[in-house]
Amino acid sequence: MDFGFSLSPSSAIELDTLDSALYRKLCRIEPGARTCIACGSCSATCTAAEHSGMSVRKLLLGLQRGRKAEVERMLSNCMLCGKCTMVCPRGINTRRVILTVCRLYDNVEGTL
């Protein structure tokens, strides 16, 4: 039966295998990332959401939980359109968050 929604399969946050270097570096470059209140405005407006499940809120959570595969999949369809920046109540430069993650994803030590 289709209720129009589904439940996410259960998952665990494995802090002992978590490497948060990328998240820390991201917060140094765009300190606004730390101020996200996970309101979901970005998820609701995202142009790429229906194609790759993109959401800056989830992206930030994913980075903190070490869910790299999910982060990579979400980012793959981002169009940098800037709707998330426009609606963010915290004024986070979400486009900078996205570009920084894309740039440093495999190369955390790399220069910007």
Binding site: T47, E72, L75, M79, G82, K83, R96, C102, Y105
Partner: protein, 602 residues
Amino acid sequence: MIDRLANGFDPFVIPFMVGMIFVLAYCGIGILVILFQLSREDRRRFLLSLVKPATAWKNIKDIFLNCLIHVKLWKRNRVLGFMHSSIAFGWFMIIVLGHLEVWLFVPERIRLLYYPIFFNFFVAETETTLQGAVFFFLMDFFLLLILVGIALAMIKRIRSRFFGMRRTTRASLLDTIGLYSLWSIFPLRLICESFTAHISGGSFLTVPMNHFFRWFFGNELNYLPTWWAYSIALGIFMLVLPFTRYMHIPAEMMLIPMRNAGLKVRHPRRGFARIQVLSCPGCGVCIDACPMSVRKENLKDCTVYLNRQIRHHNERRITEISEKCLMCGKCSEVCQVGVDGPLMRLKQRELKKYSINQHYRNIRPDSFPVEGTGKVLYFAGCMTHLTPSIRKATMSLLSKAGIEARMMDPDGGLCCGRPMLMAGRQEQARELIRLNTAIIRASGCDTLLLTCPICYRIFKENYKLDGIRVVHHSVYFNELIQSGLLKVSKDESRTLVYHDPCELGRGCGIYEEPREALLAAGNLVEAHQNHAESICCGGSLGSLSLNYEKRREITLNAFENLTAEQPDAVVTACPLCLNTFSHYADRPVEDLAVVLDKASES
């Protein structure tokens, strides 16, 4: 005129000769390196353009008008224009007249590089060369012109506001050396020509000064040190020239033919870009123009400093400046030599490598079917979806005018690709362009209507939609009003001010149509800086690194500029400008479509 010295040489010419040979060699090698850096196609195009009579003539005309007369500067500020053209044109005439004198009076010396410059030292006036008087007069006249220009330049250093400039660039050490040697060249020339005026002849400036000097010093042996000083000043100036902003003098003469040949920046450092960087005179007109300059910490993020950092190979700052820019295009609009700052930054952004590269292979164009048969296709775009009043007003106006229109993205579509393009990610932008083109072609429309100038610009510039008219709503609605299809009643009591969005105005050259349309709905006043000089709202997607708080002052300054005449409402034609201004506005900010919709009858 006869040669005074049999061998036509004196050791004082050595500093000048060293400088001159160095500059000629530097520029010669530089031209070869830059030609080598151009792509094969660009090089061919450039060299061919040099022999084509039409472009050759245009080159000469442009070099004369821009490098010598400084026409663009005159239009900006007359004192500033006079200052630059008096120095440039005066100096040019002194060099030309010097060569003419040598060619007429001592033609056998024409091969000596220094002879035209130090002509008055090497010759003596004779009975038969009184015709020389006209040359003496002209020489003194142009020297006086230059000296006036130099005096103005000195005043400008102290008070730039007299010249309509609030801020000027801070000179580097070498620039300062170049500046002082340039300033000293002409007073020294006056003094040394005055010392020898009773031998070689002179005119209204040099002859009276000669009498004074001889009365004062009495000893003719004094003149040699001044000729030495003159030669040393010239030598120093030419030795430091390649490393200072004065490099713009030779570089601009190269930039103009290259631009006339249709060359564009392809790499941020090499080839044409290099010539652009060297042509920047560091005048600092772009500092006042840059919307970021309202913030003190962003003062050094404008194009003149980008050019300087590129010359100094400061990679960290080059990246920082390139990513911060709002890409509003005002710096290149006001630039006197036509340096395309935004394009340089864009090319710099394109050099960046990413670990995650977006792709849209999983998105199929047929998942965005366009229903209906109307010939007008309306693409709202991302930004308009967040400002639904614009979308609603546009659809309402279309139905009032009896036009059957369809929406391309009623439930949200794809991005037009311009944000990706401005982030320097051409590959991704191309993919989005391909997808959107397929959707548009499948709809069978003949007109594509856009309410967002960001979309409009990429559809106009980068999409290949032959047979389909791409039109911005300000232009389209103005046509409907002028043709009588749309009836709009004018509210005489309401004054409006129109904000030129960067992408629509400077980007696509649309200034008058929105104003004409608005005139049908209310009275129009102008912002303090308008049309091509309008100020970016600060919300631009062009900037990759500027965050919300830092944009605040930019927006407030742009808004203050708009409301100088105290209008009742601010009208714009861009959803992003609308959204940005709305955060801080003290009076209604509306889109053009909303204003027209309210004023039109059904």
